[in-house]
Symmetry: C2
Subunit: 510 residues, 2 copies
């Protein structure tokens, strides 16, 4: 047995890292002889019970992510003598420089890492990437990271049906003679590939939005037709393997309402996750036509498909009011050239939608759907991006990362036709979109909540070209001369560059 | 004792009408000598327990609305011997011609009376009308009915503060010597005035959207500062008096979040209503900035303040998806001329917003806020309308009443930039709003759910002028020539009249 740093075997175990305890036990190839395994980790008054899992032949493992630095003791429990009562002590050191801890909900509508570092999702989507040949998997990882995306949505179960040309060599479970799946016989190689993907993303600072179930089978594999009990067996196994990775988010399904299951079944999956995930990783579910009730207590954020919501200003912010949770618009149509209307946006349209999402106080995810020579799509298989939006979305992420606060909220929601977001009296972002004014007369909305603007408040104006990815800093300064009930003005006119998709950033300087 | 038809004393008691049982008991002026009273009504297997109430001096009463025609028996229960065990039998006849039963939720997003007759709310709002001099009360009732409104929102507790010049002679409770309210001493005269308002509306076919609590006190009366226990005593009394009237809706509060109470307190008010209202009348609550969670099970429909949601197309429908309940936009700013931005819409703007609400599959309410010579507003005191919108909203109601089905739903939500609503393959409504095209090329959206359009389907086109209140029927007919995946077309061009605010109604004729 060894307890080691799962990501860097020779490095000490660190806070929010992964400690893996490898154990030899009874051969578990047959479910009837397989042992149950769990472990308790304790430090001071903190006690965390962690599920273990069988990892092939006689190998068993427990993964644990220490939520605090300090000395931890552990002890296993098992119905197999050789796995039971194994105990030890280790020290978890403080997090290394790039480890800010898991992402959590912050300030109601936003996210932050556990150490307080804000996290601004600019997501990508490649549903079936982990089921591609190794070289393509590696290429996808690099492409997503290089573009600057910091979240990737993907399926655990392989995708079948339309736009899928490649049948993967590995499946999650063994098949019975009748062709049905035996969820009691997971394929360790399959799940190691999932873990490898999660680790690869973690090393690149990318959150893994792991989609647990999906309807994209097209009658090919049948993994969309497991029973509720079978689904639960799989989820126990997956969570025991993945939950310790701090970049994991649980997405119950993509287009869950295509699966035609009663909503209560999804409620029970959420409840299972709450019960078995020791870390309470983020939890959501993604719709086709019918939205799940994101107000339910086990949902941490809304993960919505609705391109219409960001096709014009002022729609997406209604989700904020309805759910009072972070709004992730994880499907807003894709950049590409499919005949289907969900995949025919231009890059300009998609980038525009991201900025509209931003100016409604919400977040969005990208996908690319140019048809390749095999009839497949990047959104399915991954690889290098062909589109023109990814770099520009990385640019948006840099602008978001420069926000000095929890996130951008509508300043005067329901009234401000300019859709200015920000932090009252500190930081404002205003996106001019398809209007292309020659100049801007200094005016800021006065919100109903938060600090109120005062005469004499001084601001500096940056002009952002969202398409050409330039920031002209400090092109003007102004001091507020008049403060009205709902807005404040200064007698300053800021000339603007020609063209659409210009944004103004207005930051307080005195 | 008598059991009689409360609305028409000489007429028989009818289904969905009100039977009132008047009883003499111990003098209840002092709460300590007041009797408790309830009654059980039974017919076949149906058993309904109804709370009674003290109505001044030694008068007590029980009101009951029979949900079915037939023979009903009843028996009272009381801690006072003279009120206990009083029993009888009566026949409830079928409903009279104008009695369609209480309004209930229908087809998820709409309403219908209990007999199946669709109900399309086109609401009005006069918060403080029942607390005005009698002549003005009567004038308000006539004005609201004459305009064609079919729902009226109003406060039970009198309004104080801004825009309120008149102090009413009656209050709900007696005051103690220290000026505080004694909720155990309700003023029967006050509550009779509330009942009279509800009955007046019922006689005119108008739903009474009764606002139970409100924050508009301005420190004047203190009815916004009752304790939770005091609120509950009042609500028991009010429900015992009002619940039997089939036109009653319960609105827990206007701008509830101005009252700075924990949300759980509102949850408990809903739960109290569920417990004490024998009929399950419609229940909602109305927001200022923060929306209540309308997904909670005791909420029947959303009653939202947000003018922004109907200032442009495509916003309000997001509430439908979030709540999957009828969306009543009960405050979308008012027609008027106040300095405050909530009350300065033109009639054209307000009528436009109603049509946008309609074309998002939602409903809206009107209010008028022209300043009168006393500094008050119609929205507060009532009286005749000065504005130009009410008649046009009555016209909208007539158009809605001509819909042959449960209601208008977005045909292809999230995709259809024309915001066409209706019933697939049967009835379509498309509002052209501020665009003013010279003609319309026949095209209908093909929705994802419901009946699909087919080549050869024949339709007739009506052109509606929403401002001038005209309907040009059957100006064109067409047969679908091409049916694509998402839309269908015919080679027919319909010339349109000049000007904005034109709507098209397209109905299937073969």
């Amino acid at each position: 047995m060894t307890l080691r740093n799962d990501l860097h075997p020779d490095a000490p175990i660190e806070r929010w890292g992964v400690a893996e305890l490898e154990l030899d036990g009874p051969d578990g190839t047959e479910p009837t002889t397989r042992a149950h395994l769990s472990a308790v980790f304790e430090s001071g008054a903190t006690r965390i019970e962690v599920p273990g899992f069988w990892d092939g032949a006689n190998r068993y493992a427990v993964r644990f992510s220490p939520p605090e630095a300090g000395t931890w003791s552990y002890r296993t429990a098992s119905d197999a003598a050789e796995l039971d009562g194994i105990a030890g002590v280790f020290d978890a050191v403080g997090p290394s420089a790039d480890n800010h801890g898991p992402v959590q909900v912050a300030a109601m509508y936003h996210f932050a890492h556990a150490d307080g570092t804000p996290y601004r999702p600019v997501g990508a989507t490649v549903y079936n990437w982990i089921h591609q040949p190794d070289a393509l998997v590696a290429q996808t990882l690099d492409a997503v990271a290089d573009a600057g995306f910091d979240k990737l949505r993907f399926l655990v179960f392989p995708q079948g049906g339309a736009h899928v040309e490649y049948v993967p060599p590995r499946f999650p479970f063994a098949r019975r003679d009748d062709g049905s799946w035996d969820v009691e016989r997971p394929d360790p190689e399959f799940f190691r590939a999932v873990e490898s993907a999660v680790r690869g993303l973690l090393e690149r600072g990318i959150e893994a939005d792991v989609i647990l179930y999906h309807p994209y089978d097209g009658g090919q594999f049948g993994l969309d037709r497991l029973s509720e009990d079978e689904d639960a067996v799989y989820l126990d196994h997956l969570v025991a393997r993945l939950a310790a990775y701090r970049n994991v988010w649980w997405s119950l399904a993509n287009e869950y309402d295509q699966l035609e299951r009663p909503e209560e079944r999804w409620d029970r999956v959420f409840q299972q996750l709450v019960r078995i995930d020791p870390y309470g990783r983020l939890r959501s579910i993604h719709n086709w036509i019918r939205l799940y009730d994101y107000n339910k207590p086990w949902v941490t954020h809304a993960s919505i498909q609705n391109g219409w919501a960001v096709a014009e200003r002022g729609r997406a912010l209604i989700y904020r009011d309805a759910y009072r949770k972070p709004i992730m618009l994880d499907e807003i149509q894709y950049e590409g050239n499919t005949a289907e209307r969900w995949g025919d946006l231009t890059a300009r349209q998609l980038v525009h939608r991201f900025w509209l999402a931003t100016c409604d106080g919400t977040y969005a995810s990208h996908g690319e759907s140019f048809l390749d020579e095999n009839g497949s799509l990047h959104i399915v298989v991954g690889g290098a991006f062909r589109g023109e939006s990814p770099g520009r979305l990385g640019f948006l992420r840099r602008i978001l990362d420069e926000v000095d606060g929890a996130g951008l909220d509508p300043i005067d929601k329901w009234w401000d036709e300019t859709s200015t977001v920000g932090i009252p009296r500190r930081h404002y972002l205003r996106y001019l979109g398809t209007s292309a004014p020659a100049s801007w007369d200094a005016e800021l909305p006065q919100g109903v909540v938060g600090e109120r603007l005062e005469v004499g408040d001084r601001f500096a104006v940056d002009v952002i070209d969202t398409w050409n990815m330039t920031v002209a800093e400090n092109v003007a300064e102004f001091a507020l001369a008049e403060v009205h009930r709902n807005f404040a003005t200064a007698p300053v006119t800021v000339p603007l560059p020609e063209g659409e998709a210009i944004a103004l950033r207005i930051r307080r300087i005195g």
